[in-house]
């Protein structure tokens, strides 16, 4: 009788361990997947920037420093590794782009070019997607981090090789808001 109880208890513990382990692994994969979603959008953003710079270069040649700032921020962002570094580099890129967009306001004929408007729309959308993907990533990563620290799941955390995932923190309040770069032609009466 005693053996049966003992066996049942051991079976229960093993079953629980399997469940907890699998739960952690599935969360871990969700975190990885969430990061991939961000990565796809970041790549797209990096690809769009040279197009934008080339398109506006002719008209804005004397804004050289702004254009250079965008290019170098982009290159730094491409080279960045890890969540923290990427977050920082992308934040700087967002600011550089913001300045460029603000400057294009001064060139009505440039804005009138369909190409520039389209590129701006694409970049705005990509930034929004990054923002929303980041939100999703942070949610899953927080869930994963909490789970692996909580008792009793923390007992199997080592087995699942779980380590806390880095969150994508936003430094300043200006970047916290979804960018409001909106020069698109889709305004009332346009």
């Amino acid at each position: 009788m005693g053996t049966i109880v003992l066996l049942a208890v051991i079976a229960g513990i093993v079953l629980w361990m399997v469940g907890a382990y699998n739960g952690l692994i599935s969360l871990k994969n969700q975190v990885v997947n969430g990061w991939k979603q961000i990565d796809v959008q970041l790549k797209r953003r990096h690809d769009l920037i040279p197009n934008l710079v080339n398109t506006v270069k002719g008209a804005m040649d004397f804004e050289r420093s702004t254009l250079d700032a965008v290019i170098s921020a982009r290159n730094r962002a491409i080279g960045a590794t890890g969540v923290q570094q990427t977050a920082k580099a992308e934040g700087e890129l967002t600011q550089a782009l913001g300045r460029l967009f603000a400057l294009t306001e001064a060139y009505p004929d440039l804005k009138a070019t369909n190409n520039v408007a389209q590129l701006q729309e694409e970049l705005t959308s990509t930034e929004n997607k990054i923002g929303f993907a980041r939100q999703l990533y942070n949610d899953v990563a927080t869930q994963y981090n909490t789970r692996q620290m909580q008792f009793p799941t923390n007992l199997v955390a080592g087995l699942a090789k779980a380590s806390p995932a880095e969150l994508w923190e936003i430094e300043d309040a200006g970047e916290r808001a979804v960018p409001t770069v909106d020069l698109s032609p889709n305004k009332r009466g346009a």
Partner: protein, 349 residues
């Protein structure tokens, strides 16, 4: 986590309601069918042996079968029918900047809500409006009118799409699309039966025989037959109204929730508030959206009627809550958000 639990509860509730709705619909058709059979049977029971006796309840069998067929059809093709009825066309390769922007915004909201990207449709109508339809997230479609694209800014468009994605995520679309199919079927049934009975009476067909039977008999069974016949006719007359009221009641509750979820997705309640403001300002009716699909839309397609009013009657008849109240609630959310952000500046969101 509590958001997840809430979402799950919403989805469960909508699944349950869809089942009850389908059952209710089939029961209604069963009553229409077998009730008719019963009336015929009672009224022909005393007829002479050589006259017609209604024994086999074929009206009932037929109508239950057709109700099941309609449910199945609404389930499989309801969304297509709704889109077809509005004359919408599917946007696949965006041509104009506006279309490209719409596509982008839908992709953004799909990411924000964690759902697959729905199919995008454009309704050729100058009045701004939007709706979502489909069985679930995988088969969902989001449709906007040309007028919506022309009047809203990017942020406002995003807010409207977020509202529609909230309907998709809550599975509101399933219930609403089923309802749209059933409203159409009931309207058709009521029309058709009305016409058939009318003609039958004029030509002295079966209904004439019925009346004769009723007069001749006057016995025990017949008054009951007449009562059932009257009840039966009454059901047919009021069914379209009832079904529409049901749709309105179902839709009204969901609009506040979709507003709130949508604002959560964009983190920008004011954008939806100002979009609603613009939609409320457009006083023309959305002509391509008929009564049967009104409950699917973000704002009532036939405005000026009820959605601008408040009070008991409006609560009962309108398909949407008063826009004013929706805007006020969104402004409240924006205020709360601003308060949180100033309080917790610097902390990660």
């Amino acid at each position: 986590m509590s958001d997840d639990a809430n979402l799950f509860a919403q989805q469960q509730a909508n699944r349950r309601r869809s089942t009850w709705l389908t059952l209710g619909f089939i029961l209604f058709f069963a009553w229409v069918g077998f009730g008719g059979d019963l009336a015929f049977w009672l009224l022909t029971a005393d007829a002479p042996p050589d006259a017609y006796h209604h024994v086999v309840p074929f009206i009932g069998i037929l109508s239950v079968l057709s109700a099941a067929a309609i449910c199945w059809y609404s389930w499989r093709h309801g969304a297509e029918r709704v889109l077809w009825a509005t004359g919408a066309w599917e946007l696949i390769e965006p041509g104009t900047p506006e279309q490209k922007q719409l596509m982008n915004v839908v992709e953004e909201m799909a990411i924000a809500s964690g759902l697959p990207k729905p199919r995008v449709w454009i309704v050729p109508d100058a009045d701004p409006n939007a709706f979502a339809t489909g069985r679930d997230a995988a088969t969902a479609s989001v449709a906007v009118t040309e007028g919506l694209l022309a009047t809203l800014s990017r942020d406002e468009l995003q807010a409207v799409i977020a509202h529609e994605m909230a309907h998709v995520r809550n599975l509101d679309v399933r219930l609403m699309t089923l309802l749209a199919g059933m409203i159409g079927a009931i309207a058709l049934l009521s029309d058709g039966m009305g016409r058939m009975i009318g003609r039958g009476g004029r030509l002295g067909g079966r209904a004439g025989a019925l009346r004769a039977g009723g007069r001749r008999g006057g016995g025990k069974g017949n008054p009951l037959g007449v009562v059932i016949l009257v009840l039966w006719l009454l059901t047919l007359v009021i069914a379209p109204v009832i079904s529409r009221l049901l749709a309105m009641a179902v839709s009204r509750k969901r609009e506040y929730l979709a507003d709130a979820t949508g604002a959560q997705l964009t983190r920008n309640p004011m954008a939806l508030a100002s979009a609603l403001e613009k939609l409320a300002g457009a006083t023309a009716a959305t002509e391509s959206i008929t009564q049967g699909a009104a409950h699917l839309c973000i704002v009532d397609p036939s405005p000026g009627l009820m959605s601008s009013r408040e009070g008991f009657l409006a609560d009962f008849v309108a398909s949407h809550p008063p826009i004013r109240q929706r805007i006020v609630r969104l402004q409240g959310m924006a205020y709360q958000q601003a308060k949180r952000e100033t309080a917790g500046a610097g902390s990660p969101q």
